[in-house]
């Protein structure tokens, strides 16, 4: 039962049985687009990067990205940089694991972003998606397709934020431009 999310839609990260989620994974997958033209079989490498920024009361406190793979508190982990995307479709090429129970108490929002490090716009990327998976049972909770193929190099994907005693996820799907998450900070702040 996968929810295909649209921009701005919020889902609560509660399990159907009422228990709260303990561990979620943000997965990012993509395929390099084949270049049209004489040498049609040649593809250019596309490096998309997934990042997670941890906010406390709208101040960035920590960030998890390809140069800092584990947040200082150990609750958010990046599985490692993938520079070329997936050969086939389907699997996550980069993933960020969030152990929601261990997130420090002052962190109230975690924003996930995707950037094109090599500078291609999403027009050139195929089968790009972002999904949120319940890590305990592998069930996909939400999927956001990076289609539309706009002239953008970055996307602010989603945020998970505290709501009551649990967590909620809101799909943002906001296009932006930038090489790494630092470039996105001005565009992230309005969403907090």
């Amino acid at each position: 039962m996968t929810v295909n999310m649209t921009k701005g839609q919020a889902i609560s990260l509660q399990k159907s049985d009422g228990g709260t989620l303990t561990s979620v994974r943000m997965g990012l997958g993509w395929q390099a687009a084949p270049r049209r033209g004489l040498f049609g079989s040649r593809t250019r490498e596309i490096d998309l990067d997934a990042s997670a920024v941890l906010f406390a009361d709208k101040q960035p406190v920590d960030v998890v990205f390809f140069r800092h793979l584990v947040s200082d508190d150990g609750s958010v982990k990046h599985t490692g940089d993938n520079l070329v995307g997936g050969a086939g479709s389907g699997g996550d090429d980069e993933a960020i694991l969030v152990d929601l129970q261990r997130v420090p108490v002052h962190i109230d929002q975690i924003v996930f972003t995707v950037n094109s490090f090599t500078g291609q716009t999403f027009q050139e990327v195929q089968n790009a998606f972002c999904r949120i998976v319940d890590e305990t049972n592998g069930q996909e909770l939400a999927r956001y397709t990076l289609d539309g193929g706009g002239q953008y190099t970055a996307q602010i994907m989603a945020k998970v934020h505290r709501a009551g005693s649990g967590w909620q996820m809101t799909a943002l799907g906001n296009p932006a431009n930038g090489r790494t998450f630092q470039d996105l900070m001005p565009s992230i702040l309005p969403h907090l």
């Binding site: 406190v61 793979l69 200082d72 508190d73 609750s75 002052h106």
Partner: protein, 656 residues
């Protein structure tokens, strides 16, 4: 959902692109034959084997190995093919098992491309057979199924192929085994010649057998230990030790250097089932590894990291609470309305309440984590082997001289101010990768400030003696020796346990002459072993050279050292660890001030520890300042002397 098949059982395959994984305890040949409706194999071109590894829709490995992955695409097979039979055979060669009865039962699994297991089968009950058909994939009414076969052939591949209708079965079997033999020859580089007595020697080890003995190399630490964070003095990462060839003189060891046996390690101790909602009960050895030693080592590093991160989460939450309160107070002050009536006071109180509330919640989260780690520590500490245990651990009272070098040695305890009684053992890998400097100087810590200089020096010598005793105790008797330089004889009292027990081959060297002769001796040793290693001529080392590891304790540096001796010491610090000569310096950096920055590289190359509690060590993850405390024998305990006496007795017995 994996189907665990028994012999003869079948299972429908949900997909047509498959992998067949084979794992065995020793290298085996894996191949597959293609058969028609009646199961007949029409000649050599219907057999995929190491000499001809690819057929349409089928690929097998090119050589014998303990682990195989066979790729099968059932859709790509020719229509005439109705059956794919996966077979295993033992490769030829002397010194190898000749029948499946002599090795652990092979295991085969049919998996999807993503690695999910569809069906598995363990080939039990084999005896004199040297070839066996493991699985059959067959077409039944347009659907592919898998059947567990497990039919063995005592006469080997030829009999098996003949049974499947191959006419020139013997020739084909011979060509398969020929391809395997040449594959083996091709794949094995001659092992590097290990000089006798190089640091990776394990002569006292019992014959390696499957499933026993620690691996020679370290754990694959993976992302558990990312790049060190900047800090005052980053601890060395637990890095893999150099691989060793343990079977000197025997048949060539084909095992992966970091995986000593292909049989799975004994399972880790299982935690008892827990009540729902409760954290799991901690269990000692609850980590990955091929031996209990390695599991405990990884578990301790895991606890170290978890404590570092839990405290990082707490500190960052508290910092945030404070800075938020400051901002709110500032805002109240600058707001003119807050000057009227009680508005300002109320706002201030609110800000404080918000700070307290967040701090309380952060503390609760920290306490929860600390309680979990303390519970883990409480079960892990008593389970530690001597090399990882403190002197107060009863394991030292049952001490016996070991037959092999442990993976690591505990050289102290680490803790953080948030919970001073939660001690993490500081483990360093053996053989030592860098020298150790016990700082007898006055440091910034409270403990050092309240101790006078002479006491500090005495404590430093005591720490050094305890450390040397631990090293002597965890090495096999004839593989570690200690030299002492005490130029002015100022540490004679502190060194008494080493001198009195008779573990030193020669008494501590005194005076400039003694310094020069010990340094010259060790420098010569490093030089000779290095030359022998580079030239690959270990046999030509002089027979009087002690090839065990050497520890040089230097007290009172630079007293009694001339320029030449200082240069030799720096040479030993730089070049020694690689050839088994290690430094243990007891020194106050102030004493060597006259040398200026020339000695800075020396100090930096050594792991600095202190004889009293001092917070100068940084963890590699978040860079907290950890308080280090050396290991002390309990008051009045003679455990150190008893252990040294046993070591000395074993050494005397060894020399006889």
């Amino acid at each position: 959902m994996t189907a665990e098949l028994v012999r003869g059982q079948n299972h429908t395959l949900p997909q047509t692109r498959l992998e067949i994984r084979v794992s065995a305890a020793s290298p085996v040949v894996a191949g597959a034959t293609l058969g028609d409706e009646r199961g007949t194999v029409h000649g050599a071109e219907w057999v995929a084997h190491p000499g001809s590894p690819q057929l349409p829709g089928l690929e097998v490995s090119r050589q014998a190995a303990a682990d195989h992955r066979l790729a099968v695409d059932l859709d790509a097979l020719s229509d005439a093919v109705h059956r794919v039979t996966v077979f295993l055979a033992l490769p030829p060669g002397s010194g190898r098992p000749v029948s499946f009865g002599a090795v652990a039962a092979p295991f085969v699994a049919v998996t999807g491309l993503d690695g999910t297991e569809i069906a598995t089968f363990t080939l039990t009950g084999l005896d004199a057979e040297s070839a066996v058909t493991a699985l059959e994939l067959y077409r039944r009414q347009g659907v592919w199924k898998v059947r567990a076969v497990g039919q063995g052939y005592a006469a080997g591949l030829a009999e098996m192929l003949a049974d499947q209708g191959v006419t020139a079965a013997a020739e084909l079997a011979a060509s398969i085994q020929g391809a395997v033999a040449s594959g083996l020859a091709r794949s094995v580089a001659p092992p590097p010649r290990t000089p006798d007595g190089e640091r990776v020697r394990h002569p006292a080890r019992p014959a390696p057998s499957a499933g026993s003995g620690p691996p020679d190399a370290g754990p694959v630490t993976g992302d558990r230990h990312p790049a060190p964070a900047p800090g005052s003095e980053p601890l060395a990462e637990p890095s893999p030790a150099p691989a060793a060839d343990t079977t000197a003189g025997g048949p060539i060891n084909y095992a992966h250097p970091r995986r000593q046996t292909s049989a799975p390690p004994p399972p880790p101790p299982a935690a008892p089932p827990t009540a729902p909602g409760q954290p799991a009960q901690p269990v000692a050895g609850d980590a990955t590894g091929w031996s209990m030693d390695e599991r405990l080592y990884n578990q301790i590093w895991g606890m170290f990291e978890d404590l570092a991160r839990a405290v990082a989460a707490y500190r960052s939450a508290v910092d945030f609470a404070e800075s938020r309160m400051d901002q709110e107070l500032e805002r109240t002050l600058s707001d003119p309305r807050s000057r009227i009536g009680g508005t300002g006071d109320r706002a201030r109180e609110e800000a404080r309440a918000r700070r307290d509330e967040l701090t309380t919640r952060a503390r609760e989260a920290l306490d929860r984590d600390l309680a979990q780690l303390a519970a883990e520590s409480a079960v892990v500490e008593p389970a530690l082997p001597a090399a990882y245990a403190g002197w107060d651990n009863p394991v030292w009272h049952g001490y016996r001289v070991p037959m092999e070098i442990p993976m690591a040695l505990r050289i102290g305890d680490l803790h953080l101010p948030e919970r001073a009684d939660l001690r993490i053992p500081l483990l360093v890998r053996l053989p030592l990768e860098r020298g150790i400097w016990i700082d007898s100087g006055r440091t910034a810590s409270d403990a050092a400030a309240s101790t006078d200089g002479d006491q500090l020096r005495a404590a430093a010598v005591e720490t050094a003696v305890a450390m040397a005793a631990r090293l002597l105790a965890v090495y096999p008797a004839d593989e570690f020796s200690v030299h002492v330089i005490d130029p002015a004889g100022s540490a004679a009292g502190g060194l008494a346990p080493l001198v009195g027990s008779g573990v030193l081959a020669v008494p501590p060297a005194a005076g400039a002459g003694g310094v020069a002769s010990v340094l010259a001796h060790l420098t010569r040793r490093v030089d000779l072993v290095q030359m022998a290693v580079r030239a690959g001529a270990a046999d030509s080392l002089p027979p009087d050279l002690d090839t065990g590891e050497q520890l040089l304790i230097v007290n009172d540096f630079p007293h009694g050292f001339d320029d030449r001796a200082v240069t030799q010491l720096r040479y030993l610090a730089d070049e020694g660890p690689a050839v088994g000569v290690h430094l243990l310096m007891i020194a106050d950096r102030e004493d060597a001030r006259a040398y200026g920055p020339v000695l800075d590289p020396l100090w930096r190359s050594l792991l600095r520890i202190t004889p009293v509690a001092d917070d100068h060590l940084a963890d590699p993850w978040v860079g907290h300042a950890w308080t280090y405390e050396p290991l002390r024998a309990p008051q009045g305990s003679r455990v150190l002397q008893q252990v040294l006496a046993l070591v000395a007795a074993a050494r005397r017995a060894g020399y006889r």
